[in-house]
Amino acid sequence: MLALIVPAFLILVLFQIVPIVIGANASFRSWSLFNPQKTFVGLANYRRILTDPLFYGTVLPNTFLFMAASVTGGLVAGLGLAVMLNRRFRGERIIRTAILLPLMVPPVVAAIMITWMCNDQFGIVNVAMQAVGLEPVPWLVYRWTSMAIVIATDVWLWTPWFTILILAALRTLPPEPHEAARIDGAGPWRLFRYITLPLLQPVLMVCVVVRAIDAFRVFDIVWTITKGGPARSTETFSIYAYKQAFVYLNFDLGTTASLIGAAIVMVVGALLYRGLSAAVEVSR
């Protein structure tokens, strides 16, 4: 039994635990990437990150906004598509495959594509806007338009994931409650609201927990589209940590930010998990 566990345990220690310990060590030292002095500085790095107005005033709000908006957007769109696809119709397979396509596109490729679509000089979005008489918009110059593009890209990429999982759950729901409700005169909306949705709750909660934790760590889409700009206004937690460590070469502050982020995501994850447990309990 022990022999079966040891390989996995060793891999976990070498590639997870040891790097985390090294990172934690760096967070208590003065450690620039270009000249690693490694002098012990206690909690100074934590103080610097936690009192950085950019971190608590822009980075954390952006991270939670991104998390909430992209999870909500993906969930609502995925639920809608799953309900639509949960019936027999001509061309059902083609439509289902087409809806899954974004899931097969690497996020960086999608982000580059969206960046060009939103380019103020050559982008198709502004061409379309001008065609209907609207003024072109420099999408990536302003905080909220940039943030909206980042969130929309993420929702587009992740909606199929929600769709697949919710569709699978819909196909396994028992027909009896729906039939009983129909006999009692419930219309389509009431059926969905009071029967389908409560029965789907455990699956929806799993989707939300997994995606929320993943969205908290978002890096690729934000980096490719805005690099945290303009003027650091769309920075999320991962971009902030990366910039500290690898653009400003403050390895100590980068690892400190990462550890603070890890602590935050653990708290958020625990709260969401508690919500999930409650949802599963209710659905029983």
Binding site: L140, K227, V247, Y248
Partner: protein, 433 residues
């Protein structure tokens, strides 16, 4: 008669000898130099000539491209971890102090003596030793379209610059008067040149680049000076009221701006001379064959007639590379810089100034385009370095540009306070140097 036994002995010995010979030859050819570089016409030109030398000297050359966006972090990690990924690396002037301690001194490369010392001090000097062998001078200049502007019409002041651009747009000759990179790390092509052309600088004392002097002055950023504030206001007006530059410009990299210029959508841009080859290539650019260069239009506060920056890109050798490779790399870098054909080809193919001053003197006599480029740049009244050379420069630079972008995209009356906040933060960053 050859017996079976004799034949087998002979064959075995033959095979063994051939094997040993092959192994020996392979060992003799095994010297490999791995070159860490950024994909750019200048680097590619230099590597083309490196390959020629390598072919003649039985050295295997392995160029390893690294994106500019991650170059500093990737190379810093490689140098600090003494990684064996590269034997020769691209060493930009503004990373001089960042990497100085990890680089092999190259004072013993004779070609270095052929270069202008201004290029070396302070960027490529660490503890009194040179740390890079320059392969091109990088100098910013204005490119303009000769089908839209005659040389005599090129604006000399900011006022004329705006009027000229507006007139071209009003006449329907071009979509935008000017375009240039603005966001980090591309601020040279808008914010920086205009601050310098208005008599300002990023730090005080003005135009000082020696770290000891900057330290004596208290590492004080100067982006809140009247000259710098006026320069950022100039860009705010150019984008929002005069509308001579695209509204998306605060988000542009140099590549975005170059694409607009090469598409024929802007009359003027500001870029390194090293982009001349690309701009003038009909396969890539609609403005090929109708290009010229000019010096910076001057701002109202400047006390001198013209200004330009003059820096170099160099190749360097990590100090942890083994001795034989260091020796070979030095021979290679020396050869390129002393090879007149390679130096002239660099200029002809790309527009980059060859660092060998003997070659520059010859080009001055034989090449009118080179004379024009020099007149627009290094013959300016004031010559400065385009960066600073303390280790915190990447953070200092990013902090400055971020505040300038914030100022140029916010309300006009907030430009001064935004830059004041930026100057305070930049000074704090520099003081940690």
């Amino acid at each position: 008669m050859v017996t079976r036994r004799t034949f087998l002995h002979t064959a075995t010995l033959g095979v063994a000898a051939a094997g040993l010979g092959w192994a020996g030859a392979a060992r003799a050819q095994q010297m490999e130099l791995k070159i860490g570089y950024m994909p750019h016409p200048i680097h590619e030109n230099s590597i083309k000539w490196m390959k020629q030398w390598a072919g003649q000297h039985k050295v295997t050359l392995t160029p390893v491209p690294i994106s500019y966006e991650v170059y500093v972090e990737k190379m810093t990690a490689n140098l600090t971890s003494r990684g064996g990924q590269y034997d020769v690396i691209w060493h930009n002037d503004d990373w001089g102090q960042l990497w100085g301690r990890y680089l092999e001194p190259v004072d013993d490369v004779p070609a270095v003596k052929k270069m202008n010392r201004f290029l070396y001090e302070p960027p490529f000097v660490w503890e009194g030793k040179d740390t890079g062998v320059a392969f091109v001078e990088t100098i910013g200049t204005f490119f303009y379209r000769t089908d839209l502007l005659k040389e005599s019409e090129f604006p000399r002041t900011w006022d004329d610059f705006v009027k000229t651009c507006q007139q071209l747009q009003k006449d329907g000759k071009v979509k935008w008067g000017f375009t240039g990179g603005m966001k980090y790390p591309h601020g040279w092509f808008t914010f920086f040149w205009s601050i310098w052309a208005n008599g300002g600088d990023l730090m005080t004392p003005l135009h000082e680049r020696r770290n000891e002097e900057l330290a004596k002055a208290g590492w004080k950023a100067a982006v809140d000076s009247p000259e710098a504030v006026q320069a950022v206001e100039f860009w705010w007006d150019n984008i929002k009221t005069a509308k001579i530059a695209p509204p998306g410009q605060p988000g542009y990299s140099r590549d975005d701006a170059n694409a607009i210029f090469m598409a024929g959508d802007a009359a003027i841009t500001m870029a390194d001379t090293t982009l001349y080859g690309k701009f003038n290539d009909p396969k890539q650019s609609k403005v090929a064959g109708k290009l010229s260069v000019a010096s910076f239009p001057m701002g109202p506060r400047a006390k001198f007639k013209s200004i330009a920056w003059r820096d170099a890109w160099a190749w360097a050798i990590p100090s942890h590379v083994d001795g034989a490779k260091k020796k070979t790399a030095k021979e290679l870098l020396n050869w390129i810089n002393l090879n007149e054909e390679a130096q002239v080809d660099l200029w002809k193919a790309t527009g980059g100034f060859p660092p060998n001053e003997d070659v520059q003197k010859k080009l001055m006599q034989s090449d009118p385009v080179f004379r024009k480029f020099r007149a627009a740049t290094v013959e300016s009244e004031k010559i400065i370095h385009g960066a600073y050379y303390f280790a915190r420069w990447p953070e200092f630079f990013a902090t400055g540009i971020d505040h300038m972008v914030r100022a140029v995209t916010g309300p006009r009356d907030q430009i001064r306070p935004t830059l004041a906040e930026g100057a305070k933060k930049m000074s704090e960053v520099a003081a940690r140097a």
